[in-house]
């Protein structure tokens, strides 16, 4: 079984710890992981803003980087959703039959992390340890594009030491929405502020999601509000084991080396 | 070109820009079988109908055919005026027969008693097709209390069964509970323009 990890552009540039955690977790579960160096971005920012022509080269890059793998694991519901639901449209737009064919081969093999763990590896208890009060935001594209359902919360529930508390109105969008966050910044912030308030109401120490972009948005509001609530990617929680750091927060949040 | 020709031409050019074939369409699922008109509904269907009508805050009284006149008389006993349509087939002393009364005349009468065409159990709906005993549409609209007599044998299970039994050429009024609005802060108010009270009398044997 050849498995590739798609780091996603935002994971690669802004949240490398989430991708590193994905790699660590998969290796711990016995998967040999490859990271094709030619990969860049799924093209969703262009597609969702209406720049379909501009997305064509990105789709080309994607299929050439990931062709031949049995599974492509993505620590993002949004990027996985874009590949599965939008690459076909972009390829059709290009009028390139070979590209369309390549997309048909590649895109169904792309799975969001929790789908891969539960459906392909058949694991729910990944042997993680994370003794914190955690609440989970399920993210729209995971829920409604990919239909991952309760896979992420089943994975989290099986984590040792965790105190997983439900998030009120969990299924409502956080307001990120890609370029919506800047084109309609006021509405985006209003939605995010409500999401942040729900997060605070749970008393959780850590907000977990499976999309770095939603984390960046809600986390940015929590940080601005001095909420004292950490944001972490699902992979970071699942990757953490008892023998790895005291409580997982420092190790997982990662970028401590940057400013210290 | 007339508006008619232009609209039709626009439709056609939208649909067949280059004679592109429409996407294939799967055949619709089979429609559930409809009980024949003489097949009496089971008690559970009748009970569901009564329950669902009451759910919409209409009043429901169940009675036997022999008690019907008495039951209806007592419901309208206090009303200032009762109008009945031709063909009601029920003795109601003191009731006015709708003999092409004007809207203004109907507006001055408090209650109306009619029969119905169909009762729909799942939705708690009575359907009037304004045939014999059901009156013109305005007769069941202007008075404030509508007493509607439904025979248990007229009750069907759901909307599909009802459509199969109804004649689309006749004007119809489907009534599910009394007139209502939730337009002010979403707080439900019974009775805006239609009858503020609906009383369904469900008649068994």
């Amino acid at each position: 079984m050849r498995v590739a990890v798609m780091s996603t552009c935002i994971g690669d540039a802004m949240f490398p710890e989430a991708v590193k955690a994905t790699v660590r977790l998969l290796r711990r579960l016995g998967v040999t992981v490859e990271v094709p160096q030619a990969q860049t971005c799924c093209g969703q920012p262009m597609v969702n803003t209406g720049y379909l022509d501009e997305a064509v080269p990105l789709v080309r890059t994607f299929v050439s980087a990931f062709e031949g793998f049995d599974h492509v694991v993505v620590p993002s519901g949004s990027c996985a959703g874009s590949v599965r639901h939008q690459h076909g449209l972009v390829a059709a737009r290009s009028g390139d039959a070979a590209l369309a064919d390549a997309v048909r081969q590649t895109s169904p093999r792309v799975l969001e992390l929790s789908e891969f763990l539960v459906d392909v590896l058949g694991v729910v208890d990944v042997g993680a340890w994370f003794p914190h009060r955690v609440t989970y935001h399920p993210t729209c594209h995971s829920l409604r594009m990919l239909r991952v359902g309760d896979r992420p919360t089943r994975l989290l529930s099986a984590v040792g030491g965790i105190d997983l508390v439900p998030l009120p109105r969990a299924e409502e969008c956080c307001g990120f929405g890609g370029t919506f966050a800047v084109k309609n910044a006021d509405t985006s912030v209003a939605m995010g502020a409500d999401k942040a308030a729900h997060v605070r109401s749970t008393g959780a120490e850590v907000l977990v999601t499976s999309d770095s972009s939603c984390l960046m948005h809600v986390g940015g509001l929590l940080s601005r509000g001095h909420a004292g609530i950490r944001t972490m990617h699902l992979a970071e929680v699942l990757a953490h084991t008892p023998d790895e750091g005291a409580d997982g927060l420092d190790a997982a949040d990662g970028t401590t080396s940057v400013a210290r | 070109m007339s508006a008619r020709e232009e609209v039709l031409a626009a439709v056609r050019s939208a649909l067949h820009p280059a004679a592109s074939s429409p996407a294939p369409v799967a055949s619709p699922p089979p429609v559930p079988s409809v009980p024949g008109p003489d097949q009496a509904p089971g008690e559970e269907v009748v009970a569901l109908f009564a329950g669902r009508v009451a759910d919409y805050r209409a009043e429901v009284t169940r009675c036997g055919a022999a008690e019907l006149a008495e039951v209806v008389s007592s419901i309208v006993a206090d009303a200032h005026g009762v109008v009945v349509p031709p063909g009601l087939d029920l003795e109601l002393p003191g009731a006015t027969l709708d003999d092409d009364l004007t809207a203004a005349q109907l507006d001055g009468i408090e209650a109306v008693v009619t029969r119905a065409s169909i009762g729909i159990a799942v939705t708690g709906t009575v359907v009037l097709d304004h045939g014999r005993g059901q009156g013109r549409r305005s007769v069941t609209l202007l008075p404030d209390l509508h007493v509607c007599i439904v025979d248990e044998r007229q009750v069907v299970s759901d909307v599909g069964d009802a459509l199969a039994r109804l004649d689309p050429r006749r004007p119809q009024t489907w009534v599910s509970g009394p007139s209502a609005t939730s337009d002010i802060e979403l707080s439900r108010v019974e009775g805006v323009h239609g009858p503020r009270r609906l009383h369904v009398v469900l008649v068994g044997d």
């Binding site: 780091s7 590193k20 660590r24 800047v182 | 429609v31 489907w174 007139s179 802060e185």
Partner: protein, 485 residues
């Protein structure tokens, strides 16, 4: 109306509006969920309805001709309207032919779309809205903000004031000592409008459905004002969008099951009226039907977005939309607000002509909640993305490209190859050293202020400082060999 982002800013600051919307949409969402859970096969039902609409639209010309023939055979007069002007002219001509100066109206999206009331007013004909919420909107000289509950932005005290101050000028005044109890307010509307129903000789309606083979029009409502308008006047004109046609009477089953559950969260709305032309001795004896295009054939010509014409105006997508819930209906600048408005308006009007219409497909986070609740399974998020593409394409020839277009081209170039992306990340990592503004108490330093256009982000949100080392660089350094970080 300014484009969506600007209008949204004002709406977001209206505390009353925010509270009303949250209450209303939350209440209807819960009611809807409860009545949908009662049904065994909701998904099958919505797929069936979607299929019915698609098949009908695929042969729309034939169904319209059938409808015209059956309506005519049953004594109705059929008119065709290319646009709003055509449709308004028909209504005005019918009124004038009878010397009628007042008409009563059943709430209808189509007549709002064509701005019938305003056009009639210019010709000295008064159109009186009779739905309670529409009455509130009309008396308040206001605009509807929701498809189903148009006065959702008003509270009871505001409504009391509107009734007390305005009713008397246009008919029977509100009773003295009017309170803000909803039942009392509804009672005042009953008295005010009863006088109009009994005296007005002509009514204007829309229709929820038009059955082609029997010539039957269907109006679904709650208050009974529809029944009044459809029954008491002598003359009835119904303005019906050409997408409202369904082939047969039995096709109504799925729609009459889906619509009330999706819109008001009821198993069935209080009143449904059906009529097929003229019923001798019962109701209006002169019946007109106006078949309205007004951009619908434009939507029909879009193979993918055509499915938007399945819409049965239930407003379930508004009630579930997190954007609508915060900004309300006026922000969309159209009688069709919310997610359906964000696709319907650009489809009916065309894109690339005015900034307000072009902004609508972007008034969504693409969260997908609207598509999930749509009773006729319209892929609203998919159409939003599709229309964004059309908006961008419409401006590709512009002399001076927008900053966004330049940025997108640059981003696509930067992301086009791993080498370029890697270089960008190294620059970002180096630049990260400039942002030392670590916020006390968080492990990761954050950026609190960026110049435009980054200011759109940092005005209210912090941004983590980019890491010195990207994942890509880490992988090259160590990852391949086992991932010891």
């Amino acid at each position: 109306m300014p484009p969506f982002p600007t209008a949204a800013r004002a709406a977001l600051g209206d505390a009353q509006l925010r509270r009303n919307l949250a209450h209303a949409t939350g209440t209807i969402r819960a009611k809807r969920a409860a009545v949908i859970d009662e049904l065994e096969d909701w998904e099958g039902l919505r797929q069936r309805a979607a299929r019915t609409k698609d098949e009908t639209l695929a042969h729309l010309d034939e169904h319209l001709l059938t409808l015209e023939a059956s309506l005519t055979a049953r004594g109705a007069t059929v008119h065709w309207a290319r646009d709003a002007a055509d449709a308004c002219r028909v209504v005005a001509d019918v009124a004038r032919a009878h010397g009628i100066r007042d008409v009563v109206k059943v709430k209808s999206m189509a007549t709002q779309e064509i701005q019938l009331n305003e056009t009639l007013a210019e010709q000295g004909i008064s159109a009186w809205e009779t739905d309670l919420a529409e009455l509130i909107v009309q008396l308040g000289d206001d605009l509807p903000s929701h498809i189903l509950v148009p006065a959702i932005h008003r509270n009871r005290t505001e409504i009391r004031d509107i009734f007390r101050d305005r009713m008397g000028a246009v008919g029977r005044a509100a009773p003295d000592g009017l309170t803000d109890d909803p039942a009392v307010l509804a009672g005042a509307a009953r008295l005010h409008l009863r006088e109009k129903f009994l005296s007005t000789r002509m009514a204007v309606s829309g229709a929820n459905f038009a059955v082609a083979d029997t010539g039957t029009l269907v109006v679904v409502e709650s208050e009974g004002n529809g029944r009044m308008c459809l029954t008491l006047p002598e003359v009835l004109v119904s303005v019906v969008g050409i997408e409202k046609v369904v082939p047969t009477w039995s096709d109504l089953e799925s729609f009459l099951t889906l619509l009330p559950r999706s819109s008001t969260g009821e198993r069935m709305n209080p009143y449904t009226s059906t009529w097929s032309g003229v019923a001798p001795g019962d109701g209006p004896q002169e019946v007109h039907v106006v078949l309205l295009d007004n951009g619908r054939t434009k939507a029909l010509a879009d193979d993918f977005a055509r499915q938007a014409l399945r819409c049965i105006r239930c407003s379930a997508c508004l009630n579930v939309c997190p954007v609508y819930e915060r900004v309300g209906g006026h922000t969309y600048g159209s009688v069709y607000p919310g997610p359906i408005g964000a696709i319907l308006n650009p489809l009916l009007k065309g894109v690339g002509q005015d900034p307000a219409t072009d902004a609508l497909p972007y008034a969504s986070t693409l969260c997908g909640a609207c598509g999930d609740v749509c009773p006729v399974a319209i892929d609203i998020p998919g159409i939003l993305v599709h229309l964004r593409g059309k908006v961008v394409d419409a401006h590709r020839g512009d002399g001076l490209p927008k900053a966004e277009a330049v940025a997108m081209k640059a981003a696509a170039w930067g992301l086009g190859s791993a080498a370029r992306l890697g270089l960008g990340e190294r620059l970002l990592g180096a630049a990260a050293g400039l942002w030392r503004g670590s916020r006390a108490g968080t492990t990761r330093p954050v950026i609190t202020r960026l110049p435009w256009p980054g200011s759109h982000w940092t005005r209210a949100r912090d941004l983590p400082v980019p890491p010195r080392e990207s994942f890509r660089a880490w992988w090259r350094r160590t990852g391949r060999d086992g991932g010891a970080s």
